[in-house]
Every structure is written in C-alpha cells, then in structure tokens.
C-alpha cells in the first residue's frame, strides 16, 4: 500500500485532471470500496440503533435488557470499526496492535465492579439507617 501511494505521490502530474485519471488508472489508491457497502452498513446502524431504542421503549427489564443492549452495542461498534474505519482491510499486525490492548480494560472493569460492590455494602452497613 505504502509503496503504491508514494509512487503516486512522486509521479503525480501537476494538473488535477491528470491526477484524477492516474488515480483511476493502473494504480488504485488507498481504501476504495463500493459505495453500496457503506450504504448498507449505514442502514444497518440505523436499524440496530432503532432496536436498542426499542429495548427502552418497551421497558424490557433485567438480564434480557442488559444482554440486548450490549449485543446491539457490540454489533454497531464492530460495523463502525470494521467497515467505516476500514479495520477489516488492514494488516493483522495493525489490527492486533490497536484491538488487543483495550482488552486489558476488562481487568479494570472487573476490579472496579468488585470495589463498587464493596463500597455499596459498606455504605449499607455503616451509613444507611
């Protein structure tokens, strides 16, 4: 990818219309995907946002509510990262470098959940009449 882009950068003609032709010619540049794909993802994001809104609108409660909220959230997040941010077409080295480190947050979340629970019980025992 980098090679191709720098080749283009070097031999690009000064006239924009010629540059236009070059981009459409032998070297396709950067991330090019059919517009249709973006429109589909766009539509799906609307649909899943509507689904999450419905979860609240119909007042679903308990485990079902939380599961649905998280599932719809993760689906939307994956679409955005994979398609809109082009992660699906990046090399595995970049994917791993960006997507693996956030997993450490699960440890933070677990620790803070334990801490929150403990604080809650302490408050119940000591401060709430």
């Amino acid at each position: 990818m980098a090679v191709r882009q720098h080749d283009i950068a070097n031999d690009v003609p000064a006239d924009p219309s010629l540059a236009h032709a070059a981009a459409h010619g032998a070297h396709a540049e950067g991330q090019q995907h059919p517009i249709k794909l973006y429109l589909w993802i766009w539509l799906l994001l609307f649909v899943f946002s509507a689904f999450s809104y419905m979860v609240d609108y119909f007042q679903l409660q308990g485990a079902l509510r939380w599961t649905l909220i998280i599932v719809f959230m993760l689906i939307k997040a994956s679409f955005i990262v994979a398609i809109f941010m082009h992660m699906a077409w990046e090399r595995l080295a970049l994917k791993l470098a960006i997507l693996v480190p956030p997993l450490t947050l699960l440890i933070l979340i677990a620790l803070m959940a334990i801490e929150g629970d403990y604080t809650f019980l302490t408050r119940l025992a000591s401060f709430v009449k």
Binding site: P16, I41, F46, A113
Partner: protein, 224 residues
C-alpha cells in the same frame, strides 16, 4: 522512507514479518498509524470515564435517576422517552455515513463531492453539539442538575453525566473544526497538489471514533 517487499505475507506469519523485520512495522501512511494510536489512547480515557461511572452507580445507595424519563421530550402532547437522545444518535450515525462516503470520493479524487460531504458531516456534527447544548440547558436550568447533586436521585448522576457527555461533546466540537479545515483544503486543491487524499481518511478515522464512543455512551449511560 523504508520500502516494503513487493508481496506482503498474510496472517500471523505476516505479523511476525511486520514486527521483526528491519522495516516500517505498519505499511500505512504515518498519519493513519498515528491517528490509530491516538484513538487507542482516547479509548482508554473514555473507558476510564465509563468505568468510574459504573463504579459510582454501583456504590451509591440512593436510587439512580430514570434516564428514560429525565431525557424524555413532550411533542404535541405526547410524552416520548429518550426522544432527544434518539435523534442525536441518528444525527451522529448519519454524519458517520456521509464521512465514509467523503473518504471514498476522496480516493476517487472527486474534489467537489469530497468537500461537500465533509461539510455536510461537519454541519451534522454542529447540529449534534447544538442539541447537546439544549439538553444541558434543560438539565441545568429546568431540572436543577448539578455536578454535586440533583433533585432526581443519586448525587453522582450529575458529575457522571457532565463529565462523560461533556468530554464527548468536546470531541465532536474539535472534530467539526478539524473536518472543516480538511474540507477547505480539499476544496482548495491542497491534496491534489500533495498527491494524496489520505488526510481525508485520517480525519474520517477520528470522526468515526467519535460516533463509536457515542454508541457506548448511548448504551451504558442512557439505556442502562
């Protein structure tokens, strides 16, 4: 600039080759790699906010205000829960769509359409910030929500709300400025002279990230 071999290995063999060989690790424009790393750090900042919100919400003994009611709007006599937030979500998703198309047209070197779509994205972002300002005003003036307490329930609600949505709104505002500058440069032919439109994609990464964060805020703060 280090040159890559003509064919790059794929899969885990490719990872080993990319990271161990004496060459540039990520064969992408440097701006893109740096933007990804910035977004990674931003992920940690927003995660810290959301995790601390989880912590205070779990540990408070007062009832948490019902967000569906707090953010409800009454339109034409109908009381619709979370209406404003739903509209804000749609606006942000729409702006993400226009941005994705702008990146696409950028790589096709369609200067005019790229700039138009980017200005549209910035306008939608501005619209989002405007609605957020309305929401804040309503909460502060009408409902009396303060960072240190509120009449609706747990005192931690205000601080979590202002911190999380405020930081996100700041990102949107910054994004609007960033996109406007890049769109102006697209229009003026700056990237044609430079020979590459990759800056449009890098700006797009930032904008999609802002949308991504909103997906999490929407789920955890408004719907939970």
């Amino acid at each position: 600039m280090s040159h890559q071999p003509a064919t790059l290995e794929s899969g885990f063999k490719g990872v080993t080759a990319d990271w161990s060989a004496d060459k540039q690790a990520f064969p992408v424009p440097w701006g893109k790699a740096m933007m990804w790393i910035f977004l990674l750090s931003d992920t940690f900042i927003f995660s810290c906010f959301l995790t601390s919100y989880m912590n205070v919400r779990m540990s408070t003994t007062d009832p948490w205000p019902n967000t569906a009611e707090v953010f409800a709007l009454t339109v034409g006599g109908h009381h619709i829960p979370l209406l404003l937030i739903a509209i804000m979500t749609m606006v942000l998703i729409t702006s993400s769509g226009t941005m994705a198309m702008a990146v696409n047209f950028g790589y096709r070197r369609d200067r005019k359409r790229t700039a138009q779509l980017m200005f549209a994205t910035a306008a939608l972002g501005l619209c989002f910030v405007g609605m957020q300002a309305f929401e804040w005003t309503k909460l502060i003036v009408d409902e009396g929500v303060r960072p240190w307490g509120n009449p609706l329930g747990a005192a931690q609600f205000g601080s979590s709300f202002f911190m999380i949505t405020g930081f996100h709104g700041l990102h949107v505002t910054g994004g609007v400025i960033y996109l406007s500058v890049v769109a102006y440069r697209v229009l003026s032919g700056f990237y044609d002279r430079k020979g590459t439109y990759e800056t449009v994609e890098v700006a797009g990464l930032y904008w999609h990230f802002v949308d991504l964060v909103w997906v999490f805020i929407f789920a955890f703060f408004y719907l939970w």
